[in-house]
Symmetry: C2
Subunit: 264 residues, 2 copies
DNA sequence: GCAAAAGTGTTCTCTATACACCCATGG
DNA sequence: CCATGGGTGTATAGAGAACACTTTTGC
């Protein structure tokens, strides 16, 4: 028995134990080199990209399912994850080139030629709920599955061709992230534990895709009273060394509860 | 053949043509006598209340389904309607008293005793997407269906016992409405075409459940530049007569597009 | 000393908020 | 004239944006 058919058997059991017609798609944001990235999977055969997604087990909370998908792909456990929209257009599957769609359907047919149940299950109309997550890119270990070639971080500035309406889902997630930026102290999830104020600013600039004023940014962040200042870091550069900061978890949680009112 | 079994036959056809395991629930807000109301249905037998809901036809966009549900219940056509959250907890059905749940299941069994397909279809786990709508209460004509006793406006200050997690859905809708208040010129949907500034303020106070400052409220609203001032209205009361206002549709649409940043 | 980036200070404008004041109306 | 609510004005505090000034660092 090949590895593929093993996997296919496993999948059949998994699918038939999941709610039909419903899926989860995760827009996982990461940050590196002053750029915002999204974790995408590339499919075999048609080379199109898709969001990491999954299905909801029959005895599983939907939110739990989203956490599980995230864990499966990134290896990360408890991080920021939030539902943002449910996509239920009749023709959401048709929002890509017919050509790619056919290729992917052929791939499925080939993989599951002995399991008509799977084919039937997968070919139904699906409604999907989008979640977005923020992760520290260095702590992740992305894994493709047996239907995909690779699992890679893609810059939001150059998102490759995606299947179905995944492009639309990504855009909506970005919108939401930008709105939430004024209510969430976002850095904690996306940055390493210690960082400079410039790091934090670059992160905000990457998300908002616009320049922010340095001194005002600093004041605003410090005023939130969630950052702890540490010793300076000698960079070797011919200029003043910046302080390092980290988040005070307690104060961060407090702030999350009452909600902040930043705006950029 | 009784009216009930006619209706049941009709329903069977409708249900089997809908996506299984998925529903729509509408939190329809109305406004009257300085109070915010929600349209609720009271079930036969157990007397519990539920949100007006429905299912998504197999060839229907999810948003369209929500509009259809709204139309079925209120008779209203095109009004403000917005998806706010999808509820997918495994035990969302169990969030009410077991007793009521059993009574409702008995009612279903009685209604559909010759249609096991319907019973099976309805007894599955459901994931529901919540929409909230804003309507002018005077323009509506609420209609119960054959499973419910009545369709009535209930004050948000005294919401009766609801089935499943509908209470939670209502709370979430209220939260969303309060947040959106700072981005949407809400009055257009909830007030008659002409109204006084006090009417508008009372509406905001009903939604936010707190008193607002009169003079500042007036200035803030006028500054939005979406209101048209009309002739004064003599009320017969022993005081200065207030101006009447209405919304300028064009300016309102413009404002919707760019989004406003009110805060209360 | 000089360039470059960090950190702090200053100014201006706009908004939110509280409250004062005058106006219209009917008894 | 007076009570009541409508409409406008004003004073204060704080946030945001733009920009100036000082400090630190390596060359």
């Amino acid at each position: 028995m090949t590895q593929n058919s093993n996997a296919a058997l496993f999948l059949e059991k998994k699918l038939l134990g999941s709610l039909p017609g419903l899926s989860i798609d995760c827009v996982i944001f990461g940050y590196k080199n002053h750029e915002l990235f999204i974790l995408l999977l590339q499919w075999k055969h048609d080379n199109m990209w898709s969001l990491p997604g999954g299905f909801i087990h029959k005895d599983e909370d939907m939110d739990k399912a989203a956490y599980r998908v995230l864990k499966e792909r990134t290896g990360l456990d408890s991080i920021f994850l939030s539902q943002f929209h449910t996509f239920g257009n009749r023709d959401r599957i048709g929002k890509e080139h017919e050509n790619s769609l056919k290729k992917r359907q052929l791939l499925l047919k080939e993989l599951y030629k002995n399991q008509p149940k799977i084919i039937e299950w997968l070919n139904k109309r699906f409604i999907t709920t989008g979640y977005f997550a923020l992760v520290d890119i260095n702590q992740t270990n992305p894994k493709p599955d047996f239907m995909t070639i690779q699992c890679a971080w893609q810059s939001i500035k150059s998102i490759p061709s995606t299947i179905m309406d995944h492009r639309e889902i990504i855009e909506k997630a970005l919108q939401q992230l930008r709105i939430q930026l004024n209510y969430l102290p976002v850095g904690l999830s996306l940055l390493p534990t210690k960082f400079t104020m410039q790091d934090l600013q670059k992160l905000y600039e990457a998300i908002l895709q616009k320049k922010l004023e340095r001194s005002n940014f600093q004041r605003k962040m410090l005023k939130l009273d969630v950052l702890v200042r540490h010793e300076k870091q000698m960079t070797g550069a011919a200029n003043k060394a910046p302080y390092l900061y980290s988040f005070n978890q307690e104060k961060y949680d407090l702030l999350l509860k009452k909600g902040i009112g930043l705006s950029f």
